[in-house]
């Protein structure tokens, strides 16, 4: 018996050993792991959103701002009897208690986070409710910031819009500090400058008990507001242009001819970014299903043949390196043979004997086909590229199209055919394979206006009050003499009664311009171009107007240009 009792001593020693080893393992070896779990148990982070930076025009007019919105929320921690409170709230907000309960359950997240019952109620209603809320414990009015675009459709493509982050975007942006329910920019400046405007969200670290109720606040970090982005755009001009474009499909760009600053950039049809803030599903769906691509910013993503406005480039090439003298005459009989093909001039009776100036004023196809054939495709391509065609302008917006300047190699690769004189003739009058965007045309015109400096168009003047560094202009190396001839001819296009853009002439301002009527795949339907600068003698602005299927460049776009220039003068931009 004694011996067996002594066995018990061994048993108790074994028990002690097992327990001590287990405790040692848990509390010493694995202690850090369990400490993390214990913290995760009790510490919660409540984010405090940062107000998004605003987008302003050159005069400080708000293009995208923040509005205070009031929402009715339920605070689960302080809601003792949800059903009774909802029943009391119901008559004040005209919502059935069941519906309130449904919204509460749907938006309930954690006990210390408010669940939204009503979004964005009117201010008067919020004030009224605030007075009666004392009898409804757990219900509160919460102010929050909501994005607002005061100008609506004006400049919408450029400004862009915002939306709640999607799962796919979150996957991509998680590393950059984006979280669930964050607001992200979707187009235009909102998208491109999102990282500046979103600011840094703050947070409140709280200690919660086993039911997730807040016990105390451990610490908080205040949110840092996003930076404001100030644009070069004049919103009044922008709005005026929007009005002029009413009913047309097309784009207008107005640049500062000396700096490349974008004064206005419109594209129609457009959209109202506020529908995304309101989450107006019906309106969004209509826009998304529309066949006219309202979200497309035609100013920099639209793809158009340049038509006659390309003759400006051809003229430069001919005078500079093409061996064509400024007074050299070509005869226009209304048509010209290129190989066996007979190409007509737009003027059936012909322009007669014309030099380069007269050819530009009358937009003579025959002259430019003959000059172009003399210059040759290599030089044509070179000058097209010198004036910025075939490559994106590098403006601070996404989705810009590079354009296309064809050459022998390109044709071989894409069309599996050789380059013929017919191709050169087509290119000389801006037809065929060449594709440009309105913004590229505006850049070319600005270069002609400012003495040959190819600028990089820009939209952003300041970020958070600090100026943005500019990219230096590149020189086109076209001689001043040649440019003067071109500018004089463009002045003639408006001033002379025989000029194709005479419709745009006005006594107030001397305008210099070139019209274009670009053939499209659809016969008898042409894109109408009008690009120019003003004042002609001392250019301040360069502009381009494109109307899809707008007929002749001398008609609608010329009228729009005239009003545009007059308004710009009124605004003191000239």
């Amino acid at each position: 018996m004694e011996e067996r009792l002594r066995h018990f001593a061994v048993l108790s020693q074994c028990c002690l050993l097992v327990l001590l080893l287990t405790a040692f393992y848990l509390q010493v070896v694995r202690s850090a792991y369990y400490k993390d779990l214990s913290s995760a148990n009790r510490i919660r982070i409540i984010p405090l959103p940062a107000p998004r930076g605003t987008i302003l025009d050159r005069n400080g007019v708000v293009l995208a701002g923040n509005r205070v919105a009031f929402s009715v929320v339920a605070l689960p921690q302080e809601l003792p009897d949800a059903d009774a409170v909802f029943a009391r709230l119901s008559p004040y907000v005209d919502i059935e208690p069941d519906e309130l309960k449904r919204r509460y359950t749907k938006n309930y997240y954690v006990p210390f986070a408010p669940a939204v019952l009503m979004d964005d109620i009117k201010k008067e209603k919020a004030l009224y409710l605030e007075e009666v809320l004392s009898e409804m414990p757990g219900i509160a009015i919460r102010p929050s910031f909501v994005r607002e675009y005061p100008l609506g459709t004006v400049g919408a493509h450029m400004v862009g819009y915002v939306g709640e982050i999607t799962a796919a975007e979150l996957d991509r942006l998680k590393e950059y500090g984006y979280r669930m329910k964050d607001v992200v920019g979707r187009q235009g400046i909102e998208e491109q400058y999102d990282s500046y405007m979103r600011g840094v969200a703050g947070g409140k670290q709280i200690e919660a008990d086993n039911r997730g109720r807040q016990v105390r606040v451990l610490g908080s970090r205040l949110p840092r507001a996003g930076k404001d982005v100030r644009l070069t755009v004049d919103s009044a001009l922008q709005a005026y242009i929007r009005g002029l474009l009413q009913g047309y499909t097309g784009a207008v760009v107005v640049l500062d001819a000396q700096t490349g600053a974008v004064l206005a950039m419109e594209s129609t049809p457009g959209f109202d970014p506020n529908v995304f803030v309101r989450r107006d599903e019906g309106a969004i769906r209509t826009l998304q299903r529309s066949s006219v691509a309202p979200f497309l910013n035609r100013a920099l993503s639209g793809r158009y043949p340049p038509g006659s406005i390309f003759k400006l480039v051809v003229a430069c090439a001919a005078l500079e390196k093409g061996g064509v003298q400024k007074n050299q005459l070509y005869e226009c009989q209304g048509y010209v043979y290129v190989g066996d093909a007979r190409i007509r001039c737009w003027r059936r009776e012909g322009h007669g004997f014309v030099n380069v100036t007269e050819a530009l004023i009358g937009s003579c196809n025959v002259y430019f086909i003959q000059a172009g054939l003399k210059v040759g495709p290599v030089l044509l391509e070179k000058y097209a590229r010198l004036f910025g065609f075939g490559s994106a302008t590098g403006i601070e917006l996404g989705h810009e199209y590079d354009g296309l300047v064809p050459n022998k190699l390109w044709k071989r690769q894409h069309m599996h055919a050789g380059w013929y004189d017919g191709d050169t003739a087509n290119m000389a009058i801006g037809q065929g394979y060449i594709i440009v965007t309105p913004l590229q045309v505006a850049r070319m015109t600005a270069a002609i206006a400012n003495g040959g400096r190819l600028l990089r168009p820009y939209l952003v003047e300041q970020i958070g009050g600090l100026g943005v560094a500019r990219v230096a202009a590149t020189d086109t190396d076209v001689s001043q003499g040649t440019l003067r001839i071109i500018r004089d001819a463009m002045t003639g296009v408006i001033r002379e009664a025989r000029g194709t853009g005479h419709t745009a002439s006005t006594k107030e301002v001397a305008i210099a311009a070139k019209t274009g009527t670009a053939q499209t795949a659809m016969p008898a339907k042409t894109h109408a171009w009008f690009t120019g600068f003003a004042p002609a003698e001392k250019p301040r602005i360069a502009f381009v107007i494109l109307i899809e299927y707008g007929g002749s460049g001398g008609d609608t776009p010329a009228l729009i240009a005239r009003q545009l220039v007059l308004y710009a003068k009124e605004q003191g931009l000239l």
Partner: protein, 364 residues
């Protein structure tokens, strides 16, 4: 007052097993500190109530010491019958708490007869074995002892209280072993027990089964059956070497630990006093059981030795299972930590048991 005088005889006080008493009081002291923290700001009346139980318990310790184990053994059958009767009364009239019928109410006091039954069973077993010699055991005798064991087990199992019920098995086997039965018989009993396990399994309540399953994989149902064990492990593990400090255990104060004032009191000790606290607690229990063994061995009386072995096993098994389940190496079966968990019944019974051991040292 001649009566009082006889209670406080100097001789008795001298003969008290002082190391045993001191160890007991140390454990009770730590238990009270942990209980104060576990109920802090939540159940402020608990520590005070427990203090009253402790004082009563110390008195009963003295009383048992004075009465002496011999008289207890003489009354063993009567006490056993009383225990069974109380268990039956509980089943018939007892009040339900947490879905179990374990408590008997006497005025404002509640009492768990199953706790008392452990002591009664121990004494009865010692009494029975004192009649036989290990070599002349008949099948009938064995049948009698087995019935003696199974009756209270069955009554407690249907309350239901799985943990307390199962405690009778190691007591039975341990005392059998000490008594001197040959090992072949003992291993036969163990095998029979194993064979009975599947039968037991299908008679368990759903929550008992899920608790046992949760022991094998606590993460299978982290918010259900496995929750307590996971939270207890987090509490103890996060205590680290020196603990988070008294009244500063976040798992404890923020209410992540269920049942921390009763069965899971050790989680609070582990969290707030760290490995150091665990070391002290476990060592104290080891010393207590060792002291019981030493006192028992010093006594040459067979019945005393069997009672001593029973008390030793009661403390060893209960503390090992409880500490083990707090740390996740034993299934959650709902056994209190002796002398530490909140609750009067087991505290009083445990102290009476220690009083009996103390009385081994009396000369007469």
């Amino acid at each position: 007052m001649p009566h009082m005088k006889s209670v406080l005889r100097l001789q008795d006080i001298k003969e008290i097993d002082w190391p045993l008493l001191v160890l007991m009081l140390c454990i009770v002291g730590i238990g009270l500190a942990a209980l104060y923290s576990a109920s802090f700001g939540r159940l402020p009346e608990l520590p005070l109530r427990q203090c009253i139980w402790v004082l009563t318990g110390i008195f009963l310790f003295m009383l048992s010491h004075k009465i002496g184990y011999r008289r207890y053994i003489n009354a063993a059958y009567f006490l056993y019958a009383l225990g069974i009767l109380l268990l039956l009364i509980v089943l018939v009239t007892g009040s339900r708490k947490f879905g179990a019928q374990r408590w008997l109410y006497v005025g404002p006091l509640s009492f768990q007869p199953s706790e008392l039954m452990k002591l009664c069973y121990l004494l009865a077993l010692a009494r029975v074995f004192s009649h036989f010699e290990p070599r002349e055991l008949t099948a009938l005798d064995i049948g009698f002892v087995v019935c003696l064991t199974l009756l209270p087990m069955a009554l407690i199992l249907v309350e239901p209280d799985l943990g307390t019920s199962l405690i009778f098995l190691p007591l039975f086997l341990g005392i059998f072993y000490v008594w001197g039965v040959n090992l072949r018989f003992l291993s036969g009993c163990a095998l029979l027990g194993l064979a009975a396990a599947p039968v037991m399994w299908f008679n368990l309540k759903e929550y008992q089964r899920s608790r046992l399953l949760a022991f094998f994989d606590p993460n299978a149902d982290p918010l259900g059956a496995g929750y307590t064990m996971i939270q207890s492990k987090i509490a103890i593990g996060s205590g680290g070497l020196f603990g988070k400090g008294w009244l500063s255990g976040t798992q404890n104060i923020l209410n992540f630990l269920p049942e921390r004032h009763s069965d899971f009191i050790f989680s609070v000790i582990g969290e707030e006093f760290g490995f150091l606290g665990s070391l002290v607690t476990m060592t104290l229990f080891f010393l207590l059981t060792s002291r019981i063994l030493v006192t028992t061995l010093a006594k040459r009386d067979r019945e005393a030795r069997m009672v001593g072995a029973g008390v030793f096993l009661l403390f060893l098994v209960q503390s090992f299972i409880n500490l083990g389940m707090s740390m996740g190496i034993m299934p959650v079966v709902g056994l209190p930590l002796p002398l530490m968990s909140y609750g009067g019944s087991h505290l009083l019974v445990n102290m009476v048991c220690l009083g009996l051991v103390s009385s081994f040292r009396k000369t007469v």
